[in-house]
């Protein structure tokens, strides 16, 4: 007996599932507005309140970090130790705040994507939705693994420090208006910090997944448009009317995805710019510290920060480059079609129009200062390296 495999229909939820779940965990609701009964609505409101509370608390932590740095301004080493946290904490807070503030716009943008998602089995096979889903799942698993490992290491080291060495050292060096020598207070403060760290990590994880998934989906859409373009003129039995309707559908799909990228860009471009500036400064600073330190402890302490700042820039440039590649591939798709065999002038003119438009790639911008792509990545790395060599040669 042959075993019939049940081919499951992939929905858009499969792409963004993990991200939306994690956001829900910390209280940010990004699902589309369906009819909610009283109980889920109460949960939603509770979640939003929790998220708001979290934002206030992370603001407090940033102030506490600043206070610590200000108090220890005379000792440059302590300031250097605090600096990575000082720049990272506001960035993470701002990132989650952007998601919170724009949650309606994000919902609308996601629903645009949802509308254009292929719903029939045949479409999904044609477009190779499986491959994209696999990519997203790989990212989700890999990134999640990394985060869990990091958290576990941190917790274990904290526990070891407390119970084996008896030192009351908080995971983050901050200034508190009261002393935490008392074990109970220390426990409470540690728990508070632990809660904030947990929410921040989950939030960042969810944010990266959402960004990755939506960019994957948009590049999938561009690729599907490219495939459709390649099929123009192949079927010689099609009438001109049918071909023109086909072309019209292609253009409308393209305009939809252009609109999505435009809206998405409006929401996130300031965040991307801030991320890039902060990551570059941090990168430069950390490379300098690492190269001028002599002991292994500094190395161990700062290496994660190096990893995270590089990772942030690389991830965003990778996503940006994906969009640039897939949107310019439509032009190649048009040229790959059987345009030379088409005799209708109307169709040729329409193809020319699509070609002109597709030659300008649509990309995620850094708010007028540039475009996210590997070219920007090289520029940033080159600039950071030149600053580093400059500082090193004079110190």
């Amino acid at each position: 007996m042959e075993v019939t495999e049940e081919i499951k229909l992939i929905t858009m939820e499969d792409f963004t599932k993990m991200g939306i779940k994690c956001f829900k965990l910390i209280g940010l609701n990004l699902e589309s507005r369906k009819e909610v009964t009283k109980k889920p609505k109460a949960f939603m409101l509770l979640g939003e309140f929790h998220f708001f509370l979290f934002l206030i608390n992370i603001g407090l932590i940033v102030c506490a970090l600043l206070g610590y740095a200000y108090k220890n301004l005379h000792d440059i080493k302590i300031v250097a130790r605090v600096l990575p946290n000082l720049t990272n904490a506001p960035y993470l807070a701002i990132k989650l705040f952007v998601f919170y503030w724009n949650r309606d716009k994000i919902k609308d943008a996601l629903s645009i994507l949802e509308e254009s998602f292929p719903k029939t089995e045949e479409d999904q096979l044609n477009l190779n939705v499986q491959t994209y889903l696999k990519e997203v799942k790989m990212f989700v698993k890999g990134f999640g693994f990394l985060i869990i490992v990091l958290q576990v290491v941190l917790i274990i080291s904290q526990v070891v420090l407390i119970f084996m060495f008896g030192t009351t050292k908080l995971p983050l060096d901050i200034w508190l208006p009261f002393s935490y020598e008392n074990f109970i207070i220390f426990g409470a403060v540690s728990l508070w910090m632990g809660w904030i760290c947990f929410v921040v990590t989950t939030g960042t994880y969810a944010a990266e997944i959402i960004l990755f998934a939506t960019i994957s989906l948009s590049s999938m859409k561009f690729d599907s448009i490219k495939r459709k373009c390649e099929n123009i003129g192949v079927n010689e039995l099609k009438t001109e009317e049918e071909e023109l309707t086909n072309i019209k559908e292609i253009v409308e799909e393209q305009n939809e995805i252009f609109k999505f990228i435009f809206d998405w860009d409006k929401i996130f471009s300031s965040l991307f710019l801030y991320n890039f500036v902060q990551s570059s400064i941090l990168l430069c600073f950390i490379i300098f510290l690492l190269s001028s330190s002599r002991d292994i402890s500094t190395f161990v302490l700062y290496f994660p920060y190096l990893g995270t700042s590089l990772n942030q820039i690389l991830l965003f440039c990778f996503l940006g480059q994906k969009i640039v590649n897939s949107s310019s591939s439509v032009a190649i798709g048009i040229y790959n079609s059987k345009w030379h065999q088409i005799k209708s002038l109307k169709i040729r003119k329409a193809l020319l129009m699509i070609l002109i438009r597709s030659q300008k790639p649509s990309a995620l911008t850094l708010k007028k200062f540039g475009v996210m792509s590997f070219e920007t990545f090289t520029k940033i790395l080159a600039a950071a390296y030149s600053y580093f060599t400059l500082m090193k040669s004079f110190m």
Binding site: T239, E240, E241, L244, I247, K248, V251, N255, F258, K259, K343, S344, L345, K346, K349, A350, L352, M353, I356, R357, Q359, K360, K368, F369, A383, Y387, L390, M391, S393, F394, M395
Partner: protein, 480 residues
Amino acid sequence: MTSIIESKYVGLVSDLLPNIRLMQGFGHFIFKYINGPIFLRKVYSSVHLVLLLFQFLCILLNLAQNTDEVSELTANTITVLFFTHCITKFVYVALSSENISRTLGIWNQSNSHPLFTESNSRYHQIALAKMRRLLMLVMLTTCIATVCWTTITFFGDSTKLWRDHENNETLTVEIPRLMIKSWYPWNPVGALYFASLAFQFYYLLFSMVICNTSDVLFCSWLIFACEQLQHLKGIMRPLMELSATLDTYRPNSAALFRTVSASSKSELILNDENEKNSNYDLNISTIYNTKSDWGAQYRAPTTLQNFNGGKGNNNNPNGLTEKQEMMVRSAIKYWVERHKHVVRLVSAIGDTYGLALLLHMLTSTIMLTLLAYQATKIDGVNVYAFSVIGYLVYSLAQVFLFCIFGNRLIEESSSVMEAAYSCHWYDGSEEAKTFVQIVCQQCQKAMTISGAKFFTVSLDLFASVLGAVVTYFMVLVQLK
């Protein structure tokens, strides 16, 4: 009374009248658009020029006198460069006032179309509001800057460093408490001190205002051009919808097109199609085309039925009267003519003000380098720190002002293509599609303002200036 006289100004002049009046009031050599005796105005401007030049020379003499001590030299050079902007702009506007009035006059006669007057006036009002707001903001900032400069003079010690050659050491010498370190042919004590103070206040205010008003004029031109481009983008969609009706007319339009002159584009298109038809195999021609085939098929679809803009009753497939067809043609003509007008305006702006931008950037670059050096000597929160940071912020803000508007122009002009693509061009007539095609092709290259072809004014320029300052600062910190 004056309102009757003012209202005779049209176009850009009437929009920018407050700016022009301000410029004339502060002594710029602009003598058009006045309703009084020109000779008095010339005298007024020349007096201002003489006074400003005199003070500038005094500052230069002070620089020449104190070249021994490095920090004094640097500080005085920065002051000289700061006030060079004013003299440069003053002389530049005087020399190119013909160009400026020509640029202002470019928009005196603009075309209009009954369909698009509402959109036109809406964007015109937006541009006007933005220009006024910009002028007010910049004037306010200038006044605040002058007041701050005057206030900070009265804090801290009023001294300068003097190198004593006999003992080879640096002494601090008392100098009169004035806003700018300058040599005067008189000794500023007592009543003369207050006179010098007043004179320096006048000098500060006038030089900053002179400099900034001409920059605001440039930026206002760019605002106007950008809003015109927004207007053009906005009317693209109604134009396409309007022209969609042209296609129902196709079977009969062949005859109409053939009577048009040979230079008309639309006839060429049709001739092409005719030639292609004659080469066809009989089988293929039945599939691909006869005009009646197209006509028959095009009457059926729903895409054209829901067009609701423009004039005319489209329920009747034999549809378009000659008047309506002419209206569509005229709409396309309006669009193209308006776009060409904007391109003319932008190139005139570039020709008029490009050289001034180049000179500004040259002076600013040198000044910012020296400021980076001065910044390395900041050792606490005192008058010195505030003044260095003040100079830095002010110069960077000046550069930022025209960079941001230049960047906006680039963005707007290159997004016309995207707007053209996102309207329903596939429903339009052949003529409209050719029009969209040519627009897309042309608007791929963005309109830019260049500093006499040396650089383009955009945020990249600002980022590179900022990066250069930071680099110099870091290098100089190490060299200390």
